[in-house]
């Protein structure tokens, strides 16, 4: 049924659908995610989550600890957080993925202190790329719902058994109303079923979870890596099954738009991609051969699929709504690395740092990015461009 929902409300609705049969939701408020936990609390108080334990905790650190404890005994777990809270649980992100708990977490991107800001930025979740979580990035509220539902299926697959992060841009998606098609509970039950696991603690299966190891560390960490890489195959299967039951098709590994004959391709992630797609359509009407690659899966890194989309372009621009001070955009090197095996002529890969701290990237600014990239095909030199550098 189509409803008008903000991004936050959508995340809460998705959690309610997935955990209807039972689960655990630890909560802690932080702007701009607070509405998610408020909505879940209201759902619980109205009796819509009869078998789910919903608990307010004292910090995000405790939220992740509680999520791990609940996942270790076989319950399905959902939680949500944002920038500073996400960083507070950083130590536990590694432990949660190392102990192989299929927790699903929605992160509402917000720029990091210092200086303190509330608007959106991707530094928070991209700083956790090494933690061993599966990371997906939503571009609109419908995707927040669909990715959260798919996340449970991917996480609990016995070939994966890893926690999943679904990211959405704060303010731009979290507080904006959009039309969202909310599926029926019966179809969601058919898609997700109940969580079954063999590595959890039950009354008749005494288990030691997360044991210390000595030389076996390398073995376990490698197995963890293999599971994360296997997730790409599982994601393909899950998105096909999702299409069959819900009617919406996704291409999470490489969401490309009009790239087959594009000379200039822009690489974006998050809500900016929907604006960029409109610019591509307008410029195509004017005859420019432009295309868009939207990164929807950050970990595991679909390097081959990305390479296949970008290899024939003349110029590629990687838009980073994040920055590693002292180096540059975080995704810039990932894309350059993906294109390294391509034989000459390789595309000229440029970096564009835009939207730090939530500065809106309008259609005019995105068009200007395409124009700058077009110039690189003439000069043959890559550029590193910064938007919004003046103090206002």
């Amino acid at each position: 049924m189509k409803k008008i929902l903000t991004g936050n409300k959508t995340a809460a609705v998705a959690a309610g659908l997935a955990l209807k049969k039972g689960g655990v939701i630890p909560m802690y408020p932080i702007t701009p995610q607070t509405e998610i936990v408020e909505e879940i609390a209201k759902m619980k108080a109205d009796g819509e989550l009869p078998n789910t334990v919903v608990k307010n905790m004292d910090s995000e650190f405790s939220v992740m600890s509680m999520a791990m404890g609940a996942a270790a005994v076989g319950a399905r777990v959902f939680t949500a957080t944002s920038s500073q809270g996400f960083l507070l649980m950083h130590e536990l992100l590694y432990i949660a993925s190392g102990q192989r708990h299929p927790i699903v977490m929605v992160n509402v991107s917000r720029g990091l202190s210092a200086p303190i800001t509330l608007w959106s930025d991707h530094n928070d979740f991209l700083g956790a790329m090494q933690t061993g979580w599966i990371m997906m990035h939503a571009q609109d509220n419908q995707e927040v719902l669909d990715m959260t539902l798919m996340a449970f299926k991917i996480a609990e697959d016995p070939r994966v058994l890893l926690p999943v992060l679904v990211n959405m841009d704060g303010y731009i998606l979290s507080f904006t109303d959009e039309i969202v098609d909310v599926p029926d509970q019966e179809i969601v039950n058919k898609f997700l079923g109940e969580r079954k696991s063999e590595h959890t603690i039950t009354p008749d299966r005494p288990t030691v979870v997360g044991t210390p190891v000595l030389p076996e560390y390398s073995y376990f960490r490698t197995q963890h890596h293999i599971a994360a890489r296997n997730a790409m195959q599982v994601i393909k299967e899950v998105q096909d099954e999702f299409y069959g039951l819900f009617g919406r098709r996704y291409n999470l590994l490489a969401d490309e738009f009009m790239t087959s004959d594009a000379e200039i391709i822009l690489v974006t992630q998050g809500a900016m991609s929907t604006t960029a797609r409109e610019v591509v359509m307008e410029m195509r009407d004017d005859g420019a051969k432009v295309g868009l690659l939207r990164l929807s899966l950050i970990r595991p890194w679909p390097e081959e699929e990305i390479r296949n989309v970008l290899c024939r372009a003349k110029a590629v621009g990687v838009v980073d709504k994040n920055i590693a001070p002292g180096k540059g955009g975080i995704m810039y090197d990932e894309i350059r690395g993906a294109l390294y095996p391509v034989k000459d002529p390789r595309p000229i890969v440029s970096s564009i740092i835009a939207g730090l701290g939530g500065n809106p990237q309008t259609k005019k600014k995105i068009r200007a990015m395409f124009e700058k990239l077009a110039k690189t095909t003439e000069t043959g030199e890559a550029i590193v461009e910064f938007n919004d550098v003046e103090a206002i």
């Binding site: 190392g98 102990q99 192989r100 016995p158 070939r159 058994l161 063999e198 590595h199 299966r205 005494p206 288990t207 030691v208 979870v209 997360g210 044991t211 190891v213 076996e216 073995y219 376990f220 490698t222 197995q223 963890h224 293999i226 599971a227 890489r229 296997n230």
Partner: protein
Amino acid sequence: MNEKDLLEKGYKGIKGIPIIQDPGNSERNSATGLWRIKRPVFNGTQCSKCKLCFMFCPDSAISWSEEGLTFNMNTCKGCMICAEECPQKAISEVDER
């Protein structure tokens, strides 16, 4: 091993997760008895069968049966708490060598 082979054949399922689902197996597998420098010796005539030694042994190395007390020399670390707590002083210590 190269990554391609690892990804195709290397995944071990739950055996690749750091859990232990064989409860109590350290008693069979882990010979902490090798740490001993003193060993306990039981004197049955002094014993009053109070079983305090069994209650206090940190390594669960003492078991009681109809015949009396036996030490699991595979896991006994020679701490001698049994000798200290015995009210009848029925356990004495000798050097391990």
